[in-house]
Symmetry: C2
Subunit: 351 residues, 2 copies
């Protein structure tokens, strides 16, 4: 263990907060870069630089004062990161980030690796949506290529009129279009890889979304072992191909026993929060260990567990349960659709 | 849950660090009061006031800015705390703290509750040690009444010459004397009680000390269930009698199937660090919940585990074990006998 090293984290939300806590546990310092002075991660970090992600000078200063740079979200301009990379090592690498920043690039990349995604169409202008709707004769979902999260940047299009209403000024373009499909189940793999190529995967959890936002992750899932194993193999293929260092979240759809990758997140992931209370290690500990070249921990699950997101609310009547582990992120403002905290409901194994 | 409340912690060491992390997890702010600017808890807290525990004005200012006051060590002058109590609620109460601050008061209190301790003698002057040594004709251990920890403030006396050498200037006085006894085993109970009187105890762990400092805590212990249960009952008697709010550590000696309380600590305790990785809740979460009037969590143990203190060292060859959870406190200076971190070695249940 090498103490007194400093980890820089871009972003100061709940993921950064939990990463900073895991880093502190191992004796590392953490510096946060975030535009919001009251961000959740500030409380549990050594220093917080409050500035815009577009201020390249400030970002460069930040990078000079840390030993390794990581991030809690993928929507940072790669131009900025390319400058920072000259100053300090960024983990996971910009390569992974670039792919994940753009839904079109991401899905094309996955297909090139022989990994199934839902069928998608590149949409650069409104006319392409009109033509596609005529062609497929089914509702289609338009998703912005960049900067979408938690169901934001998505429009469901059923009629030509929907197109007129929603794309008057080329909002959301460039984007991709997908046919609307009802999936049987959703699951995700939380995977970690270190520089030496050692890989560990947590058991895939089953996800339930509401209004495009993750609501619950359940372990064990109702999905058969063979498919869970297949999902882990796909995730391994991705991190190996990217020579990836750190934790990645890979979201899958399941339909008729076929796995489709929905998206990959080059960071710790909401659907991995259960690991803090259900596994012998957490995704946050593993990410810090991977980026700091420490040996990875066991990902074995010791308990059955359901992670439940507190969306747009902080309070919950559900907490009077002695196996309910509540996490409150400490965001100053409660807004509808905003993730304010989560609860890990532990269900003892075998019960 | 009531966010935006602030917990004040007196002391900034590793116990305060782990308490502050548990508080942040629940969305509470934490302010630390500590004479050392580089104290471990500063990193994971909102604010750190760096000043002496004897600066009553500064302490009063600190108390005015928090909603509840707690502490990570028991050697704070009660005069100071009595002033602070006029400003803000202190949990656990000063009553418990006063008893634990003085070995003579502590043991007398326990005996008055019909709880066994080893036989002890009040020593106010050197002459009393000389007389006692003649009387018992066995080595005796002199322990300072106040401010002793980790084997400090203790002298083993075998001859009248030992007395001359060690007590020339009344060092360590007033103190207590105990006969030196070889105990069969040592164990401790980590117990938590809230304001309503709800009590939860963690399964007692078996302790091993080296040079007066805790080295390991092992769960499960090699001690029979009946005795473990007896120890928990004794701990319950103490917290109920004190109308205690928070976590308490109760250390026991075992000899010939008889339990003797060695000492009680009105705070989270080193021998409870295993709870972070071996139980459905940690002592730190329970302490924060108790002092903030939140429901207590389950104390059930899910894994076999050994806690191993890193004393006077930070590095360890033992960490290349995927079930070894390492905690590094982040103290700037490594000194012999100083607790620098610990490792929780998880042993899966039944393995």
């Amino acid at each position: 263990m090498s103490p007194n090293r400093t980890i820089g984290i871009l972003g100061g939300g709940q993921l950064a907060k939990m990463l900073a806590t895991a880093a502190a546990e191992l004796g590392f310092n953490t510096n946060i870069y975030c535009p919001d002075r009251d961000c959740p991660a500030a409380q549990v970090s050594n220093e917080t630089v409050v500035d815009s992600y577009n201020n390249y000078d400030e970002l460069a200063d930040f990078a000079k004062n840390v030993d390794v740079l990581t991030y809690e979200f993928e929507n940072i301009e790669t131009k900025a990161l390319e400058e920072l990379e000259k100053i300090v090592e960024i983990r996971p690498s910009i390569k992974a980030l670039k792919i994940c920043q753009d839904r079109y690039t991401e899905k094309s990349y996955l297909n090139a690796l022989d990994i199934k995604t839902t069928q998608f169409y590149k949409i650069d202008e409104v006319q392409a949506i009109e033509e596609l709707l005529i062609k497929v004769k089914k509702p289609i979902l338009i998703k912005t290529r960049k900067l979408g999260y938690d169901g934001k940047g998505q429009v469901l299009v059923k009629t030509q009129n929907d197109i007129k209403e929603n794309f008057r000024e080329n909002q959301l373009l460039p984007s991709i279009a997908e046919e609307v499909i009802r999936f049987d189940k959703e699951l995700s793999v939380i995977i970690v890889r270190n520089k030496e190529g050692t890989i560990k995967t947590f058991e895939p959890g089953e996800n339930m979304h509401q209004h495009g936002i993750l609501l619950t992750t359940t372990l064990p899932s109702s999905i058969g072992k063979e498919l869970l194993n297949d999902a882990s193999i796909i995730a391994k293929k991705i991190v190996d191909d990217l020579d990836y260092v750190g934790v990645m979240g890979v979201e899958f759809f399941l339909k008729e026993r076929q796995l489709f990758v929905n998206e990959i997140a080059p960071r710790v992931h909401n659907s991995g929060h259960w690991t803090v209370d259900g596994s012998y290690s957490s995704q946050f500990q593993q990410h810090i260990r991977a980026i700091m070249d420490l040996p990875l921990l066991s990902t074995e699950r010791h308990s059955d567990i359901i992670m439940y997101n507190l969306i747009g609310k902080v309070t919950s009547n559900l907490v009077n349960n002695e196996l309910a582990k509540v996490y409150i992120y400490g965001k100053k403002e409660t807004r509808p659709g905003r993730k304010m905290g989560h609860i890990n409901f532990i269900k003892k194994k075998g019960s």
